[in-house]
Amino acid sequence: MPRSDMMIEKGLTLVDAINEALAQEMEHDQRVILLGEDVGLNGGVFRVTDGLQKRFGVDRVVDTPLAESGIMGTAIGLAMAGMRPIPEIQFEGFLGPAYDQLTNHAARYRTRSRGAITIPLTVRVPVGGGIHAPELHSDSPEAIYAHTPGLKVVMPSTPYDAKGLLIASIRDPDPVIFFEPKRVYRSFREHIPEEEYTIPIGQAKVVSEGTDLTVVTWGASVFECLAALDRMPEDVSVELIDLRTIYPFDADAVVESVRKTGRCVVVHEAPKTAGMGAEISSIIQEHCFLHLKSPVQRVAGFDTVMPYYKLELDYLPDATRIAESIQQTLAY
């Protein structure tokens, strides 16, 4: 699909970038098919697959029955049979019914069959809070899947990264969960290459360089962190790392940065306890022990169920909480 005037002029949103990546991969690889609830004529509830059924036909962009385990399980079958299925789960809260197929089959098949059967599928899932959605539409379960061997877990925060990482995920011969931070879907536009490109899974991105403290984050929180950085005094130099891939995450980038800065704050929306922040904090401790000038801090969601939207902004880590934690860490 040629880009719209708006896209040419102002750039692409995250939604546009994902849509373009899907279209381009479908164009050059007949094995790629999309399946899920309302992904067809309706173009998905976030319109991410808009226009794709019209373009590629009802056999390649398929509205399925309302059954997440069915979507994941048949996608696994499609993948076994040589297709490159891209199932969409409408919201991260509805990964629940697909959990068994995803973790006990998709994630295990390569190793349980010692390579004889492989599952090249990419599960697209909107993730995270902040859009005033109903219950179970605002969670951040990335740590659950990072703890599940055999899965790769990706979460881009920008249109550029989304396109490159999605293409890399689709081409990856193993199952990838591709989390799309829904708060960022249309929050800004970015000029990105029209041709296809990939960004390697597992590489973090240094969003801003710094020497006094490292902030590690991903997804929509990247923008809260940027806002927090804006509030820092001139003489404070913070390095901001967007992890982009949650598993396998770029420990080297994190460790290198913290060995330089000696201080770190990890930020994520998911509950603190046993979240990815714990993993990153531990890895830092293990590999930067003697460089650490203060304990790694975790600015995360609380260990409660994500509240309904009247309170969601109180729950989510925001620039204020992040900035405060940075300052406390610097002052330690």
Binding site: L41, D63, P65, H132, P317, Q328
Partner: protein, 379 residues
């Protein structure tokens, strides 16, 4: 007999009051318990006027930014209310989805609760003492298992109660639907499954959702009594629901009812059905609106006229604006509310700390750590 028929089944469709207001007296003879009496029908109609009005107002609240996403119930009032009328208020239990507001309100849920829920406030789920239902359920297809479990408890305790669960046509595709039906049938618990087949699951029409000719036949898999009814016909729904509920109460086990109806509005306020739905189809169903035919019935019996209609529409406005005022008058919860209901007892230490400080970072939380920070600088 090497090729023999070992099982037979069929699905009946029940309609008592058709879309022209014609009533089948044989199916629900006057004065019989399976027939809604005039006063009941009248009350139900008046109630529907309020429900429909609140539904429209809720839509507008969302549009004007005063409420989050809202799924309209418009056109499905008879399916909900027919069941509610057949169930015992204060005794039987509902496990709803989100398109049977009328049933919940009829059974005592304060009307503003549902607005509160969609305003992003858990207190809309804080079902008052004595009102017997679970809150609206967001994850599709999951609440039928709860109804089955509740009904199971009734059976164990020999209470003459029935659990009734509502769900959509789309919900019958979820594995949990299957498991609930099977548990209910093998355990023979007093549970009634009401499927509001409104022909759509967001943008997915029934034919893509399933390949069966009826939804009702899904119950055959479980050897469960099942029927298809005209869900826009209050009398048919009432008759079928009453039979199923009383059978369950009497120890006769679970039943399934497919109420054939139609989603007259968009899926929710976040949806635009024009993207995927033929307007002619909607047009055709507008004529089958459950309220139109009930009004015709009541009018034909001399129980209703335009004046009363106007009067009750006015009354509805007053009631509804009161409901909206109540919902909007409820202040934002405190942040303590995020924490306080996580567990029954005192919060775990870490969670208590999070609540007290509204922070998850460890620095600045513990007095001892504050003291230590001096040491740190010396390092």
């Amino acid at each position: 007999m090497p090729l023999k028929t070992v099982y037979k089944a069929q699905i009946e469709n029940l309609q008592v009051l058709d879309e022209n207001g014609v009533f089948d007296e044989k199916l629900a003879p006057e004065g019989k318990p399976e027939r809604l009496a005039d006063d009941q029908a009248l009350e139900a109609y008046k109630f529907m006027i309020v429900c429909r009005h609140l539904d429209e107002v809720a839509f507008k609240l969302q549009r004007s930014g005063r409420m989050g996403t809202y799924p309209q119930n418009k056109g499905q009032e008879a399916a909900a209310l027919g069941v509610a009328l057949a169930a015992r208020k204060g005794e039987d239990f509902f496990c709803p989805c989100y398109r049977e507001n009328a049933a919940l309100w009829w059974h005592g849920l304060p009307m503003h609760y549902i607005l509160l829920h969609w305003m992003g406030d858990e207190r809309g789920n804080q079902i008052p003492e004595g009102v017997r239902m679970t809150p609206l359920s967001i994850p599709i297809g999951t609440q039928m298992l709860h109804a089955t479990g509740i009904a199971w408890a009734y059976k164990i305790r020999k209470e003459p109660r029935v659990a009734i669960t509502f769900f959509g046509d789309g919900a019958t595709s979820e594995g949990d639907f299957h498991e609930a039906m099977n548990f209910a049938s093998t355990l023979q618990v007093p549970c009634v499954f009401i499927c509001q087949n409104n022909h759509w699951a967001i943008s997915v029409p029934r034919e893509i959702q399933m390949n069966s000719e009826t939804v009702a036949q899904k119950a055959i898999a479980y050897g469960m009594p099942t029927i298809q009814v005209d869900g826009n016909d209050l009398f048919a729904v009432y008759k079928a629901a009453r039979e199923a509920i009383e059978r369950a109460r009497a120890g006769g086990g679970p039943s399934f009812i497919e109420a054939v109806t139609y989603r007259l509005g968009d899926h929710t306020t976040a949806d635009d059905a024009r993207r995927y739905r033929d307007p002619n189809e909607v047009e055709a169903w507008i004529g089958k609106d459950p309220m139109i035919r009930l009004r015709k019935y009541l009018s034909a019996r001399g129980l209703w006229d335009d004046a009363r209609q106007a009067e009750h529409e006015e009354k509805a406005k007053v009631i509804v604006s009161e409901v909206v005022k109540t919902a909007e008058g409820i202040e934002k919860p405190t942040t303590d509310d995020i924490f306080d209901h996580t567990f029954a007892g005192p919060l775990p230490v870490e969670l208590e700390r999070q609540k007290a400080t509204m922070r998850t970072s460890s620095l600045g939380q513990e007095p001892e750590q504050a003291g230590l920070s001096g040491e740190a600088r010396r390092m």
